[in-house]
Structures are given as structure tokens and as C-alpha cells.
Symmetry: C2
């Protein structure tokens, strides 16, 4: 295998883009080989979901997402002084697990599009998409169970535990949507975001550490790093869901408000005990919000302190992430790649 | 742990019932402990599905099914001369995997009842039931990945591969329902039944062999034994789906015909090239069948040779199962329990 995951490091946004490109270039072949082992009827759905094929089975040039999680696996191994090449299977397993959850989340959320294409369930029907997701869940764990690397068994146990946490996080997310504006606490929504977003980023970093032969404490530190960075990422993502992403195409401003999402800044505003928080609750009680109401809701979140809280929390979580990382990697210059990736996923609105 | 899985063997139907009771009594505590480790929102759905709790969370006395698969794991270990006690986690993992597929199959098939109770999705909604199934899939593999037994990693890889096969089998079953009466071949429906029913029975036996420290060839022989017995079981089950189960409450006669199921005897009749096969195809072309039409369809399956074929096939598959078993256990008296269980699952209509 030609290794493009050599020890050269990269920093800054361009560095992160390069790291993601490199991770994709080494993990993609492994991912494709692994998906190729699926039975035909399931394989075609997986290939469609990854953007490798059109619905009719003809090849597509699409990309399967940004490969942040595989890049974290490889960068974590490198930060601990190991050659990341033996961790490529673990990186592919994490990406498979991530994509199985996307497949099922799209069913659960009834989302019709992902990555600018119809979702797998919209194309193949719910039964086939559900079963393809089940198979991809098992495939991720099979890939680790069949990997002769000494860290693979512990990695498999960690990834399985993480999948369970992801499911609980997604379930909490759905449950919160059904509750009234004053029926979700900030602690609950932080715990939900940690489970839904932080857990897999933490798991990716922990797997990289395991494959680097790190001890238990270092593995736990890398897990905590990924979790904190993941929560920072979710906070920024939630801000973008309200105020949009300047300088990028992506979510339009107000999208989460239109959907009445109980995102982190929204809940922070709702529980603020301020008049602006009450205004927001009253707006969320309406079945639909027009453009003016969306602007009013965004303004209410801001006046209730939700925007500041989320921005401060994101900064604090990133600081905690770095603190955790330094427990395992005292000389942070060795962890430049990992830090560049964490910066990248949280930098978008800053 | 008090071990009720001692080496005493049992034969005949009563013996099999005793074996199932014993397996349940050792595997149930492990299963409950493992399910207890799930996050609360998922745990309550798993406990409801297993019949341990009512929908409101109050304790229920219900049983979680016959425990055939866990009993096969333990009996396979015993047939190979090993103490089955160390294989209890593997037995629980197989039962968890089986129950995750039931949870999802009920969603896919839109079945409103299972074991005389509303299905989990009917009680908790599709999103929560789907996510609970995902978590149980991961939990089964986590249980093996965390088991320090030397066979656990290979067992985990086998169970994951089996789950993928189960998904493909269920997908094929759904796909065949959509096809016309002449558009499913006998080979296809046999392959579907092998994947959907045989694979997990084979995996259960293979895991028992792995935990007994058996070599690759013996593990493969036990897997083949379970697969052949599983297919025999499916053939008998399909006969019951048409002619009912004399001497038992259970499926009413004709249930599979009312549902236009392309079961093994039905497809054997449809592809027979006989006038009776054409009569059956004409009846299946009707959107609904009244009682008289159901009787006519059953009669057509029989005249087209579907009933005889299925009965002969079941006998042949059981013979092949025993042949496979004898490759690993030349003195079959050591495998009495395993044979009693295989007899039990296929004896119902004989």
C-alpha cells in the first residue's frame, strides 16, 4: 500500500483539508473493499449511500463526506508517535459505523435528501435501507473482529459501546422534539449532543490511540479530547443552524428555527428565565414560522443569551479538549494534525 | 453460578424441553445483566420486547421465546466434550442478535403482534424501536468483544458475518413478495431460507464449537449441521403455514396462503410445471383469497407436489445435518442433546 499518511504534519485550515484528503485516499480503498464483501442486494444500497453509485448501479463520482472521523483515527495514532498505516481498518470501521447511523437517522427523521441526493430510504424504500444499515453496523464490527492487530478486540468493544451511545443520543434528540419549550433542560440537551456527536469523535480518537499501543489513561484522554471537540463542533453547528454559515453554501440561516429544533443555543435561551426566552417559547408554540418570525426567534435567542452562551461554551470545550489531549501528548507539537482537524471542524463560523 | 448445563444428556421431545428450560435458566441471567447495561430509553424497549416488562415499565412474567439458539450454543459445546458454562456469554450474544432481527423484522413486515403482544414498534413507535434494535445489534457484538474467552474474537467475527447474512435473507424475503408467481426460482427461495433461518442456527452451533476449542473443520461441520437443521425447520414451518399445526395452537391453517407468502412448498408448486401449479398461480394473482380459495390453494400445492417435496426435503436436510455433525462428533451418542434439539425444532408436524 502506498502510504500517504506519513508523519508530515499540517496545520491551519489548508492543512486540515490536506489531512482529510490524505485520510480519504488511504481509507477509501479499504472502505470500498469492505463494502464489496456485502451481499449484492445490500451492497448496492451501501454504494449508493456512499455516493459511489447512482440508484441504477452505474458508477458515480460523488464523495462520501468529509472523512473527519477516519482522519481523527489516523491523526490520533500519529500524535502518539505511531505509524497510522495499521489503523486504516479501524478508520474504515469508524466511517462505516458513522454511515450506518446516517442511513438510519435519515429514516427516523424522514429526511428526503443527504449530500444533495435523495436519501437511501427515499430511493430503495424503508425496509431495504433499514436492513442495509443493520448490515453496515455489523460490517463495521466484523472488520475490527477480523483485524489481526492486537488492539482490534478492545477497539471493537469500544466501537460497539459507542454505537449504543449514538442510538441513545438520537433517541433523545427525537424525544426532545416532542416536548414543550420548557420541558428540556440544558443538561439534558448537552448530554444528548455529547452522545449523538461527541461519542463517535471520541471513539475515533480512542481507536487511534489503541492502535498506537497507548495505555488506558492515554486512550481515555484521547476519547475525552474527541468528545469535547465534538461538543464544540455541535455548538458551532447549532449556531450555523440559526445564523447561517457566512462565506459558505450550506445550511440557510434560520433552518433549525423553522424546524423548531431544540438545539443547544435555543435551549440555553429557553431556560434563561429572561423575557426574550419567553418570546422564543411563544414563537416555538406556533405551528409554523414565517420569515419575519424566524428573524424574531433568532433575535430572541441572541437577547436571551443563547448565542453568547454557545460561543463561550464552544471555546471552553475546545480548551478542555486541548487540556485532555495534553495529558496524553505533553508536547502538543506532536499533535498538530489532531489539533488542525479539531480546529477545522469548529472553525466554520469563527 | 449454579450450573444447570451439566453433562447429563436428554433425548426425545421431553428431553428437548428440558434442555431448553436449562438453557434459559443459565442464559437468562446473563441476558438480563447485559440488557441492564443499555441506556434507560433503549433498555425499556429491549425489556418490553423480551417480555420482561409491560409497556409502562412494570414487571411482566412473560417468556422471551423458546431459547433454541442459546440451547444450541451450549449443546454444541457439550457435544465436543467441553463444559458449556464458559459459552453462556456467547449463547446470550446469539439470543440478543436474534432478538434484534425480530425487532427490525416486525418493523419491516409491519407486524402488529409478536408472542401474543403488540410489537415494540406498535407500542413505542418506529424510530424508538429501530434505534433499540440498532443498539441490541451492537450489544450482541460488544458482549463477545468484551468476553476474555480465547474464542470470543472469532465468535464475534462469525456472529457479525451471520447478521449480515440474516439481513440479506430478510431483504430477499421482502423482494420475493413483490415478484410475480413465476418470478422466484426454487434455488432462490432455498437460498433465502438458508440465509434467513439456517445461518443463525449454524452460527449458534459454530460458536458452541469455537468455545469448546474445536478446530476449524469441526467448527465448519457444526455450522453446516445448524444450517441444514435450520432449513429443515423452515420447511416444516412452511408446511404448518399451509396445513396448520395439528395438536397445537399456533399458526392457523392457510395463514401463509392468505398472505400470498412465497414459502418453500408454494414455490416448489409454482415452478412444478403442472396444471395444479398454474391453478395456484391463478389463485395467487387474486388480491384476496376467501376460505374456499385458501382450501383450493392448499389443495393445488399438494397436487403440484409442493407438500411432498417439502416433506422429503426436510427429511433429506435432517439427514445431511446428522452427516455433517458426525464429521465432528464421530460417536453421535456424545451429541444427543444437539440431536434432540434439532429433532425438536423440526418434529412439530411429524
Amino acid at each position: 500500500m502506498t502510504t500517504t499518511t506519513s508523519a508530515d504534519t499540517a496545520s491551519g485550515a489548508q492543512g486540515a483539508v490536506l489531512l482529510l484528503d490524505r485520510a480519504r485516499s488511504v481509507v477509501d480503498p479499504q472502505l470500498r473493499t469492505t463494502v464489496e464483501s456485502l451481499p449484492g442486494s445490500i451492497r448496492r444500497i451501501a454504494k449508493y449511500h456512499f455516493g459511489w453509485e447512482h440508484a441504477d448501479g452505474s458508477p458515480a463520482a460523488g464523495q462520501a463526506g468529509k472523512a473527519i472521523r477516519p482522519a481523527l483515527v489516523l491523526a490520533a495514532a500519529r500524535a502518539l508517535g505511531a505509524d497510522p498505516a495499521p489503523a486504516v481498518k479501524a478508520a474504515a470501521a469508524v466511517e462505516l459505523a458513522h454511515n450506518f447511523t446516517l442511513l438510519h437517522d435519515d429514516i427516523v427523521d424522514e429526511d428526503p435528501t443527504r449530500r444533495h441526493r435523495p436519501t437511501a430510504w427515499a430511493v430503495f424504500g424503508i425496509p431495504d435501507a433499514l436492513l442495509a444499515g443493520d448490515a453496515m453496523n455489523a460490517l463495521a464490527l466484523r472488520l475490527l473482529a477480523e483485524d489481526p492487530h492486537p488492539a482490534s478486540t478492545e477497539a471493537s468493544a469500544r466501537l460497539a459501546a459507542c454505537v449504543i451511545e449514538l442510538c441513545a443520543g438520537q433517541q433523545a434528540d427525537c424525544a426532545f422534539e416532542q416536548r414543550g419549550p420548557h420541558e428540556v433542560s440544558l443538561d439534558e440537551v448537552v448530554a444528548m449532543a455529547t452522545a449523538k456527536t461527541g461519542a463517535l469523535l471520541g471513539c475515533a480518537c480512542a481507536l487511534g490511540a489503541l492502535y498506537a499501543g497507548a495505555d488506558e489513561e492515554a486512550v481515555a484522554a484521547l476519547d475525552a479530547f474527541g468528545r469535547e471537540a465534538g461538543l464544540a463542533f455541535q455548538l458551532i453547528d447549532d449556531l450555523i443552524g440559526i445564523w447561517g454559515d457566512p462565506g459558505r453554501t450550506g445550511k440557510p440561516a434560520g433552518a433549525d428555527l423553522v424546524a423548531h429544533k431544540k438545539s443547544l443555543p435555543v435551549v440555553a435561551a429557553l431556560v434563561s428565565g429572561t423575557p426574550a426566552g419567553e418570546e422564543l417559547a411563544a414563537l416555538y408554540a406556533r405551528p409554523a414560522l414565517d420569515a419575519e418570525a424566524v428573524r424574531a426567534a433568532a433575535d430572541a435567542v441572541e437577547r436571551a443569551g443563547g448565542r453568547d452562551w454557545a460561543q463561550n461554551q464552544a471555546a471552553e470545550r475546545m480548551a478542555r479538549a486541548v487540556e485532555q489531549l495534553s495529558r496524553a501528548v505533553p508536547d502538543l507539537s506532536a499533535a498538530e494534525d489532531l489539533l488542525a482537524l479539531a480546529e477545522f471542524v469548529t472553525r466554520r463560523s469563527r
